[in-house]
């Protein structure tokens, strides 16, 4: 019964705290962009001419179908991360696509029109080598999967395994390729390095080994790229050292060694240090491949060759050429070759594969993005036109993971920026003011120069405002007359300006591939992009806003610290976040690994905040390091402290800056690594405001918050992972003095721990391994009924330890990420934004995570609006701020305040990017969207007329009375 009452109380309280989305707000201020990642396999559906399907499998373990006309997703299947969801191969036949997943563990067949799974088969363990479709008598019936030591054949329509056979001598022979020419046989090719090639022939019906032979090949070091099967089963290999091509008919019994053809006889030569690549094509898996093939001799030299009557003849030499690919439509096979045209453009041409003759009027001009990377993959979609000639479209993938889909004569049909599937870090930067806005702002900043000029100035600025308003009205009127579709709100970099409430900002996103993006937060349009070349794939990025847009005419300035994960060596990249242009400011060289960065509130004469970089010898580099800055640093050095974390030794250490920019160690906390390891350390956000110093209790007394800006939350996990002995620890450490303010342990718990540290509280989530559930725990720190020093907080002068309250709750769902909302002045109540693996983002009122929630309701707790304690946290779908716009694999949530106190801007990123606004205390400072203007004006007019009429009536009555 009591339980019921609690439930009831919660539901009642929810009605007032919930900040849900209204149905009519859909798409008004939120947007989502879906990504797939770096494409590893892409196949165009050539099954029917009208098909728009493009199937892709990516390195993010995503298998998707794109609309090749628009670039939108038809459907997308996101598998689990890591090697277990890794897509090894993608094969397509008719309406079905077969995908090999998880190092050959799973075989899945998908129906490609609706994206449904047809069947799934579990394969034996073993590292995956190759997969191929196998046809018998012009029909593709099977799929063969080659593992390191076994080969299996599966039925294509049901997935059932026909047979599985162990490969002979699999411990010495590396089997790498599989080939079937539609003649009832499957060939498995393997080799022993620098010794011989092994060819095993299997019968399709029962997996019986028909033949096994080994051929001498002392030069052989790899099969995969340097060998190909062409024309009715002839193995062709290329070797760089001997500068030769080798051929061997797979089925012939008499030929026992490979025939060598010197490349010199063809007037060819492989570039030194470049492993040559052979590319063949087998348009129909039930038929042998074509006799034509590409040989790549150097990064920009391809040649189309043909094997005819045992002789290899060059059909066409493409020098220079970046990329080449085959495509088939109907009976015709063509080759598309991309060659450089000039410095900024490439031309793609179509050649018929069997003759090497160029098709007329097939040139596509591909313009390379000057801020992007080089093209590195070419996918061709060939189709037959009405006049039976071959038309084609191409998809180009570049180093910076841009997919561009082009059609003749070079029109970009669509473009996808797949680098955004892996956003590492981001910041939101205010947009610059327009001239008018700057004028108005400037009025208040400047010194007064007399009454009359001030009045004139005021009038002139009001006039400007009036003008702008009239222009706005005119535009509204003008747009209203035009049909809706033709009105375009194109956002370009030139029209960017801050809106009234600063709701529109520039999102600066840093991706793992080293590409930076500037995205308009209102529409999601990419306004600028910049690819940083030579970024190591496992770099760590840190983005710092050094100067905001507030300091006109100085441009805003962002600094990106790029750090190599292995060496720790860093470099700085300074750019303008609004235009994406690199700044020409001299950047300090960082010869030593950077351990810590520190953005000081100290500003130089150009209003840029000073960034301190601490290297592994505890030397400090300031950026910018002008004389002015150094002078200021000397003055304030005694009050600059920083901390370093060494997780390998479990050591936290605090340092103080000296006058000469050297440092001194002042404290050290060691957390023994044999018991527990530090997993995360977080301070508070620098731009966070706390509006109220305390909380008013039910008896009208005040409980003051412990607002220590130097507090660090340190999360540890036990090294013992046994479910009975594992634990999660939390330490609250003062970053200046090293004093441990509080420590707590959650027994029988393990990570991953997600936590938020803000104001006077820390919220963390862990996995309770005993009860197998996620639990939220909240720590709140209070000074007590009196403040020690209410004017200024000093870590060095706080004699009383804070009172710590803690409460834990069950959270009935797994969690991907956690963040708290942030508003301009901190008046609005806080919400926690919880990213769930299902892709939803839950906005959970902080009210539910209040350690003062009473178990027994009293008069005072009711007065304070405390919700009675309930062990289980409610999850309501109305609290999902992204309704059905799920964000796959949400990895981070970024929150930024807007100009409106009620509004917080939220960006969730992962595989997708979702931007929205949340109103934790509803929109209390602006009129609601559904504000009923009609009602209010009708009431006003009604009252007005009522007064008029009643006045008239009263007059008449008075007159009548006077007559009586």
């Amino acid at each position: 019964m009591a339980w019921l009452v609690v439930r009831l109380a919660i539901t009642v309280s929810l009605l007032y705290t919930a900040s849900a989305v209204f149905e009519d707000q859909v798409g008004k201020f939120d947007w989502r962009q879906q990504f797939i990642g770096k494409v590893r396999f892409a196949l165009f559906d050539t099954h029917s001419q009208a098909s728009k399907k493009l199937l892709v499998a990516t390195d993010k373990n995503v298998f998707a179908s794109l609309n090749s006309r628009t670039g939108d997703l038809f459907w997308r299947h996101v598998d689990k991360t890591g090697p277990e969801g890794h897509i090894d191969a993608l094969l397509m036949y008719g309406q079905d696509a077969v995908v090999v997943v998880g190092n050959g563990r799973l075989l899945r067949s998908w129906e490609t029109t609706v994206g449904g799974l047809k069947w799934e088969a579990v394969l034996d363990t073993g590292s995956f080598q190759a997969a191929a479709l196998v046809g018998v008598q012009d029909f593709v019936k099977y799929v063969a999967v080659l593992k390191k030591s076994a080969i299996s054949l599966h039925d294509l329509s049901s997935g059932s395994q026909i047979w599985v056979e162990n490969l002979p001598d699999s411990d010495t022979v590396q089997y790498q390729t599989i080939y079937s020419g539609g003649n009832g046989l499957v060939f498995v090719l393997g080799f022993v390095p620098n010794s011989h090639i092994v060819i095993v022939e299997y019968k399709i019906e029962d997996g019986e080994i028909m033949k096994k032979k080994s051929v001498e090949a002392a030069w052989m070091s790899s099969l995969e790229n340097s060998c190909a099967v062409i024309s009715s089963g002839i193995l062709l290999c290329v070797d760089q050292i001997t500068q030769s091509l080798y051929t061997l008919p797979l089925q012939s019994a008499e030929q026992t060694e490979m025939r060598q053809i010197h490349l010199q006889t063809l007037d060819l030569e492989v570039a030194s240090g470049f492993p040559p690549v052979l590319t063949s094509t087998q348009p129909n898996p039930a038929q042998p491949p074509l006799a034509e093939f590409f040989l790549q001799l150097s990064p920009d030299h391809h040649i189309l060759l043909q094997l005819k009557d045992g002789l290899i003849a060059p059909l066409r030499d493409f020098n220079p050429s970046y990329l080449a690919a085959f495509a088939t439509s109907g009976e015709k096979t063509v080759a598309a070759v991309m060659s450089p045209k000039n410095d900024t453009a490439c031309s793609i041409n179509l050649f018929s594969a069997d003759t090497g003759r160029r098709h007329l009027d097939t040139t596509i001009i591909y313009h390379m993005d000057p801020n992007g990377g080089k093209p590195n993959r070419l996918y061709v979609h060939a189709f037959l036109k009405k006049d039976d000639s071959v038309g084609y479209r191409v998809m180009v993938q570049t180093e910076d993971l841009t997919l561009t889909f082009l059609q003749q004569p070079g029109r970009v049909v669509w473009m996808r920026e797949e680098a955004l599937a892996d956003v590492v870090t981001m910041e939101m930067v205010d947009l610059p003011l327009t001239g008018t806005q700057a004028e108005l702002e400037g009025e208040f900043g400047k010194k007064a120069d007399g009454l009359l000029p001030m009045v004139l100035k005021r009038l002139s600025s009001q006039f400007i405002l009036l003008q702008a308003w009239m222009a706005h009205l005119w535009k509204l009127f003008y747009d209203a007359r035009k049909p809706r579709s033709s009105v375009k709100n194109e956002v370009t970099i030139d029209t960017l300006s801050r809106d009234e409430f600063n709701l529109q900002k520039m999102m600066v996103m840093v991706t793992a591939s080293g590409k930076l993006f500037g995205i308009d937060s209102k529409s999601g349009t990419i306004l600028w992009k910049q690819y940083l070349e030579n970024i190591q794939p496992n770099s760590i990025f840190k983005l710092i806003v050094q100067r905001t847009t507030a300091h006109f005419p100085h441009p805003p300035q962002c600094t990106l610290l790029i750090k190599d994960k292995d060496t720790g060596l860093g470099s700085l990249y300074v750019f303008n976040p609004i235009f994406g242009k690199k700044s020409h400011i001299s950047v300090p060289a960082l010869p030593r690994p950077v351990l810590q960065t520190l953005l000081l509130p100290v500003i130089d004469q150009d209003y840029a905040k000073v960034l301190l970089l601490i290297d592994d010898q505890y030397k400090v580099t300031a950026f910018p390091s002008t004389k002015n800055v150094l002078q200021q640093l000397q003055d304030t050095a005694s009050s600059i402290f920083f901390y370093l974390v060494d997780t390998s030794q479990g050591k936290l250490s605090g340092f103080r800056l000296r006058m000469d920019l050297s440092t001194e160690l002042i404290w050290e906390v060691v957390i023994p690594t044999e018991v527990q390891k530090i997993v995360a350390v977080k301070g508070k956000r620098a731009n966070e405001h706390v509006h109220s110093q305390g909380r008013v209790m039910g008896d009208r007394s005040v409980l003051y918050k412990y607002l220590n800006p130097n507090l660090l939350a340190v999360i540890t996990e036990s090294t013992d992972t046994h479910q009975e002995r594992s634990f999660v620890g939390i330490f609250l450490i003062d970053g200046v003095t090293g004093r441990i303010v509080h420590e707590a342990v959650q027994r029988k718990a393990r990570g991953p721990v997600h936590f938020v540290h803000s104001e006077n509280w820390v919220v963390y989530v862990y996995w309770n391994s005993k009860f197998r559930r996620n639990e939220f725990s909240v720590l709140e720190l209070f000074e007590g009924a009196e403040l020690y020093n209410s004017t200024v907080f000093s870590s060095l002068d706080r004699p009383h330890p804070p009172q710590v309250l803690q409460q834990s709750y069950i959270f009935p769902a797994p969690i991907s990420t956690l963040e708290a909302t942030l508003t301009e002045k901190g008046i609005t109540s806080r919400h926690l934004l919880v990213g769930l693996p299902s892709g939803n983002i839950l906005s959970l009122p902080k009210m539910f995570l209040d350690p003062r929630r009473p178990e027994v309701v009293s008069e005072q707790s009711r007065e304070e609006n405390l919700i009675p304690y309930a062990p289980e946290m409610p999850i309501r779908t109305e609290w999902f701020i992204n309704y059905n716009q799920t964000v796959s694999r949400v990895r981070g949530i970024y929150t930024a305040p807007s100009g409106l106190e009620s509004t917080c801007l939220v960006v969730a990123y992962g595989l997708d990017i979702y931007q929205t606004r949340v109103f934790p205390s509803k929109q209390f400072d602006v009129l609601k969207d559904d504000y009923d203007y009609v009602l209010i004006s009708s009431v006003l007019f009604g009252l007005f007329f009522a007064t008029m009429i009643s006045k008239r009536l009263a007059e008449v009555k008075l007159l009548n009375r006077a007559w009586r």
Binding site: A20, K80, V670, Y883
Partner: protein
């Protein structure tokens, strides 16, 4: 200054409420439970399979956006076009299986896998985690409705307006003032007598002067005394005004309060 943190740390201020589990299940069940709770070290990999149904839809209309998730995205499965699903390579342990679909809502199910690969399904209960309410295995997941992401807007209707207590308080007295004199004919002598009687009943002690009257008498100049005045004792037309007037005044003050709120 070196502070060495001991591995043994103090207990938390407020711990989670512990729920006493009633040992209500049979001996067999407990044994099974222990079996389920043993460590996950042994490398048993099993397939979890079941069927998901949205009763009013064909499978191909909803499965492309749905996934089967075990403990978040630790293990992922996809739904076949006949509604069936299998999640492969799941090691022993206890998992919460849910069908994640942006449109359709399913109840999650807890799946326990023993180290020997035995499986059972039960109702998810995060509070009493050891409570066993068995569910059929292979799993039968049935859609229980649509997700409701939106809350309806407060709409404005005449009925809302009229049923508002503030409006009622204003309108009813108005009606009484306007209608009552028409219903009750004050010129009818019988009615007048009746009303007088009822008034007398109300003011049981008629001789006792009204306080307001007293005060008026006290402050007013002596010549006004002769005038027939004062509300209470004049029955003609006075009664309605007294009856209606009081609530009306109350209504007005209430209005004022409500505006300041």
């Amino acid at each position: 200054m070196k502070t060495r943190v001991r591995s043994r740390v103090c207990a938390c201020v407020a711990l989670l409420l512990l729920f006493v589990v009633h040992a209500s299940f049979s001996h067999e069940d407990i044994k099974l439970l222990e079996d389920y709770e043993t460590s996950e070290d042994l490398d048993v990999r099993v397939q979890v399979s079941g069927r998901a149904v949205v009763p009013w839809l064909r499978a191909q209309d909803w499965i492309s956006s749905a996934r089967v998730l075990l403990d978040g995205d630790k293990h992922v499965g996809f739904i076949r076009d006949d509604g069936g699903f299998t999640v492969s390579d799941v090691p022993s342990g206890s998992y919460v299986l849910e069908i994640s679909s942006p449109t359709y809502r399913f109840q999650p199910v807890r799946v326990d896998i023993t180290t020997t690969g035995k499986m059972r399904a039960r109702v998810v209960n995060y509070i009493k985690t050891s409570e066993v309410i068995r569910l059929p295995y292979p799993l039968q997941m049935r859609c229980v409705g649509l997700h409701s992401y939106f809350i309806p807007r407060e709409t404005w209707g005449w009925s809302d307006f009229l049923m508002n207590p503030m409006v009622l308080m204003m309108v009813l007295p108005l009606l009484i003032i306007v209608l009552l004199p028409k219903v009750i004919n004050p010129s009818d002598p019988e009615m007048r007598r009746e009303m007088e009687q009822s008034m007398n009943m109300l003011n049981s002690n008629q001789e006792l002067p009204d306080v307001s009257e007293l005060v008026t008498k006290f402050f007013s100049p002596p010549k006004s005394q002769g005038r027939p005045g004062g509300g209470a004792r004049v029955p003609r037309g006075g009664a309605p005004s007294v009856r209606g007037g009081a609530p009306r005044r109350r209504g007005k003050t209430n209005m004022a309060v409500s505006y300041t709120e």
